[in-house]
């Protein structure tokens, strides 16, 4: 496991985090067991694993939406104690305010940061243009397709200028073609802004394509089974998906995940 490095280089530092919950009709469940993970600043990091492995829970803990029970999570701004604009989040079902137009949604984010008036208006337009939604500022979410709604959600989150971008299977609700386009666009945005991204997905190819580094998580109780560095410099080459090294990596990671999926099926708790 790579060292955390100096404080300034920290994106997200997770130390010995354990999370348990008790469902209504059963014994206590350990969702995450003693997770420690250091994500350097500006890294695009994927949390990959089978359903129920706790990757979304870990994301919500980083976001501060669920309180940390055991262990601690730190960012460059200090200990995580609750939600905050330096950790922006994008959800799978977009979470746009349906009663506001696209622009109004983005303006809302800017208003929380104290930006108002014509300055805010210009900045909102900037982000809307960045996600290629120019011309749809005045549309309501119900009038937009899934892909467009997700772009709007991303624009809104980017408008708070977060250091860290948390993404919870953001393309899961989109069809395969839209998903691929959005993946490419997301890479473009990330390269331009160089934020730290923590990206939850169960799609192996997506993780290998997008991320610099992947934490493959084990089935419940969730642990970091292995960390894979995926260093493809030529990611913006459309032929990357046929690159043999890329394909091998995908296969390798898939084998790791499949072992975990089988483990879940067999009901064995990972050692």
């Amino acid at each position: 496991m790579p060292e955390a490095g100096s404080r300034e280089a920290i994106g997200v530092e997770i130390s010995r985090v354990t999370h348990r919950y008790a469902p209504r009709n059963g014994a206590q469940v350990t969702a995450l067991a003693n997770i420690s993970l250091g994500i350097p600043r500006n890294q695009f990091h994927a949390l990959l694993g089978p359903s129920g492995c706790g990757k979304s829970t870990l994301l919500y803990l980083i976001g501060g939406f669920i309180p940390v029970q055991e262990g601690e999570i730190r960012t460059a701004s200090g200990l995580v104690r609750g939600p905050g604009p330096e950790r922006g989040i994008v959800f799978q079902n977009f979470a746009l305010f349906p009663w506001k137009t696209v622009k109004a949604n983005v303006l809302y984010a800017l208003a929380q940061r104290g930006s108002r008036g014509s300055e805010a208006d210009q900045r909102a337009q900037h982000f809307i243009d960045m996600v290629h939604l120019t011309g749809f500022e005045g549309s309501y979410p119900a009038q937009l397709s899934g892909g467009m709604q997700q772009r709007a959600a991303i624009a809104r989150t980017l408008a708070t200028d977060p250091d860290i971008l948390l993404m919870d299977e953001p393309f899961g609700a989109l069809d395969a073609q839209t998903r691929r386009i959005m993946q490419e666009e997301l890479l473009g945005i990330w390269r331009a802004s160089r934020k730290t991204v923590v990206f939850v997905t169960h799609d192996v190819a997506e993780a290998v394509y997008l991320a610099d580094s992947i934490s493959v998580m084990s089935a419940r109780p969730g642990r970091i089974q292995q960390r894979i560095e995926t260093d493809f410099n030529n990611r913006n080459d459309p032929g990357i998906l046929r690159n043999p090294e890329f394909v091998d990596t995908v296969e390798h990671v898939w084998e790791l995940v499949r072992a975990e999926v089988d483990a879940t099926k067999a009901g064995r708790a990972a050692a």
Partner: protein, 269 residues
């Protein structure tokens, strides 16, 4: 792909709707024709089903001489005031119940007990407490509408998708801003649905109260007509009441469209 919006609506559905409306008009017209003919030929005892012409004439007279305005006005006034009181008291209560576990523990059983009660049974109590004039009717209307309003306000608040709240908090929203700018708009569709259900209830209750207590108002006038065997008056009253009912429902639907124009239910697909 980014440029593509939703396809334009196919013309056929609109044509279909037109055909349906036409069909309904024909069916309704047929009914009225049957009524007119039955009255003329006296297929049915004219006391039970007075001729359409006489009913129409009475309707005209009611409008002309102000009877309709007076009665409808009174009924609507009592309904509206009672309903308003129920809104002002009930909706904040419902919101508070959704936010406070203690309040919820106390109020939820009371609401679920009170909901299925035929609240009109309490009318004699309100007469006892508030006399025989408007106050008792208004209180009765308020009491009858309140339960639905509290329940739907509570459900609306509880039903707000938590990712909306998390997004807002993630953007740095404070508790007050969160409440007014996120929770209330998100809960509004369901709260408004509650209003749309409660208002007809308020109208039914007002009319029933008027019938019991007599006096002016659509209910009182109709019952008086019934007691005096004035069946034409009864029919005219029903038509007038139906008209008021339709106006009320239509007005609420219009208001919903205005307030909730952003909601997916109105999206052109």
């Amino acid at each position: 792909m980014s440029g593509a919006v939703l396809p334009a609506p196919v013309p056929a559905p609109n044509l279909q709707r037109l055909r349906q409306a036409a069909g309904s008009c024909v069916a309704l017209g047929g009914l009225l024709v049957f009524w007119a003919v039955a009255g003329q030929r006296e297929w049915i005892d004219p006391f039970l089903l007075p001729p359409l012409g006489e009913v129409l004439q009475r309707l005209l007279e009611d409008v002309q001489f102000g009877e309709f305005a007076t009665n409808a006005g009174l009924t609507v006034y009592r309904t509206a005031l009672g309903f308003l009181i129920a809104c002002v008291l009930g909706i904040p209560l419902g919101i508070a119940v959704a936010r406070s576990a203690a309040l919820r523990w106390f109020c939820a059983p009371l609401i679920s007990v009170g909901f299925p009660m035929p609240k009109i049974a309490f009318l004699p109590v309100f007469i006892l407490w508030f006399g025989v004039y408007d106050t008792s009717k208004i209180v009765m209307v308020a009491f009858a509408s309140a339960f639905t309003l509290v329940a739907s306000a509570e459900a609306g608040m509880r039903g707000v998708d938590k990712v909306l709240v998390w997004s807002a908090r993630g953007m740095g929203a404070g508790p007050v801003g969160l409440f007014f700018q996120v929770l209330i708009p998100a809960a509004l569709p369901q709260i408004f649905t509650g209003l749309q259900i409660a208002l007809p209830t308020a109208l039914i209750t007002a009319i029933a109260s008027e019938m019991l207590m007599g006096g002016a108002g659509l209910g009182g006038a109709m019952l008086q007509a019934g007691r005096f065997a004035d069946s034409v008056g009864v029919y005219a009253g029903i038509v007038e009441t139906a008209a008021v009912g339709m106006l009320v429902v239509a007005a609420m639907a219009r208001l919903r469209r205005g307030l909730l124009h952003w909601h997916p239910e109105f999206a052109r697909r």
